[in-house]
Amino acid sequence: MAEERKIVIPGETIVSGSNYLPSDGTYRDGDDVVAKIYGIVSVLENQVKVIPLSGTYFARRGNTIIGTIVDITMNGWLIDFGGPNRAFLSLNEVPRYINKNELRDFLDYGDSIIAKVWDTKGRSIDVSIKMRGFGKVEGGMFMDVNPNKVPRIIGKEGSMVRLIRDSTGCNITVGQNGRIWLKGSDIDNEIKVRKIINYIVDNSVSVGLTEKTEEFIKNLGFTVNKTNLEQPVEEVTGESISSDEDN
């Protein structure tokens, strides 16, 4: 919804009327729909929600996350992804059979993985790396951003991340938990891409972000390549794009 951006603080009435449905970041109090978190109001049809400006990452089914192995249990791995709790990767959710005694050979402490959240209902957040494009990552560079800015980095249907990738030739995987993995031709390339992403995060609420970013990319000495814009992205980045886009 592109109308004026209204900022609410907790306890503030957003709309009144029994036909509105309170969604994320809101609750109903009598006739009013009230903000529960500090953020920007979004009213779609009659569904009211508040898009947070800050706060820790909240895992959802279908999200792509990038995390680190912090513990190994009898039947899987515990992954720290920056949220309040850890995620669990079960032995059943890896692409091949692994002997229970050889867990460390497959994924060891400190290894970073790209994983998909497939269940958040149970006691823990369960992730999987069975699909193509998920699993252990090696080389490249990691960076952490505010998870609430991830939709801006991905852009509409992945346009922003595609723009950066096609202009710089650097592979980018954006985890919805705010961790980003960059793998370019060399370290200079990756540092430049990190600059671009930080620029997007710093300017995330400004209008005409795509144009500004294109300008920024040009200033870094890249040529903006738009030829592939029509093609859908088919790698891992594609996964992170399809789910949960806020705008």
Binding site: Y27, K36, Y38, S204
Partner: protein, 243 residues
């Protein structure tokens, strides 16, 4: 309120009206590495609040599998008063941590973060009475800034009585007014939406009728504080939009 004719405190030391607040200054996001932070200053009192979390709670036996918990730590800095405050926890700071925790605990909703903790650190770099209420005001803004789900905001003010005169937002010189009935200090915290009282303490002596008048005055004053808190939070994002 007009000072009662026989009260010994007829005019405020700093020339304020009896219901007038000290000048307020606020800021949000003063500690970039934290999840949320805020500063609240009234006159000579300044409080900063920093929020970390939600994050996994250790020791594990304190974890609640149904909901996250809130933990508040209040402390005055050694240099916050003219002589020195011994650093570290003491009887007073432990009590204030506890009452601030109860007040803020009534508004936060941490059901979405089982086994987690939200830590709120309130520090007082400069004290001139009313530090717990300034701390609560800062903490409420810092919690909002951290994106912690809350049912409503909280605003707090200390209402006092010097001899027989009721005054809003008393400062240290008024707290030390020992003529007649002496000083009475009543910190009150009011929630923004339902106007519930989240904190009410009394240090001194007061009649029942006067106390209900005090609460009425506190609610009006908290409304003014809330306006400042809301303005600060809303303008913070405005700044971001320009940049």
């Amino acid at each position: 309120m007009v000072a009662e004719k026989d009260s010994l405190y007829k005019e405020r030391f700093d020339g304020r009206q009896f219901k007038e607040l000290r000048p307020i200054k606020t800021a949000v996001g003063i500690v970039p590495s934290a999840d949320g932070s805020a500063m609240f200053e009234t006159g000579g009192t300044r409080a900063i609040a920093v929020v970390r979390g939600p994050r996994t709670l250790h020791p594990q036996h304190m974890q609640d599998s149904q909901t996250g918990i809130l933990r508040v730590t209040y402390g005055m800095m050694p240099f916050s008063v003219w002589d020195r405050i011994r650093p570290g926890p003491n009887r007073r700071s432990e009590e204030l941590s506890k009452v601030c925790e109860w007040a803020l605990g009534s508004i936060v909703d941490l059901a979405a973060f089982p086994n987690s903790v939200v830590d709120v650190f309130i520090q007082i770099p400069q004290a001139d009475a009313g530090t717990r209420v300034a701390g609560l005001n800062a903490a409420a803004m810092a919690l909002a800034d951290a994106g912690v789900p809350m049912k409503e905001m909280i605003s707090a003010i200390a209402v006092g009585k010097c001899d027989k005169t009721l005054i809003v937002d008393m400062d240290k010189s008024e707290e030390d007014f020992h003529e007649g009935e002496g000083p009475t200090d009543i910190p009150v915290a009011v929630t923004s939406r339902n106007k519930n009282i989240a904190l009410l303490q009394l240090d001194g002596k007061i009649s029942v009728d006067e106390l209900s008048e005090v609460i009425g005055m506190a609610k009006v004053a908290c409304g003014e504080v809330l306006k400042v808190q809301m303005k600060t939070l809303k303008e913070r994002t405005g700044e971001l939009q320009d940049g």
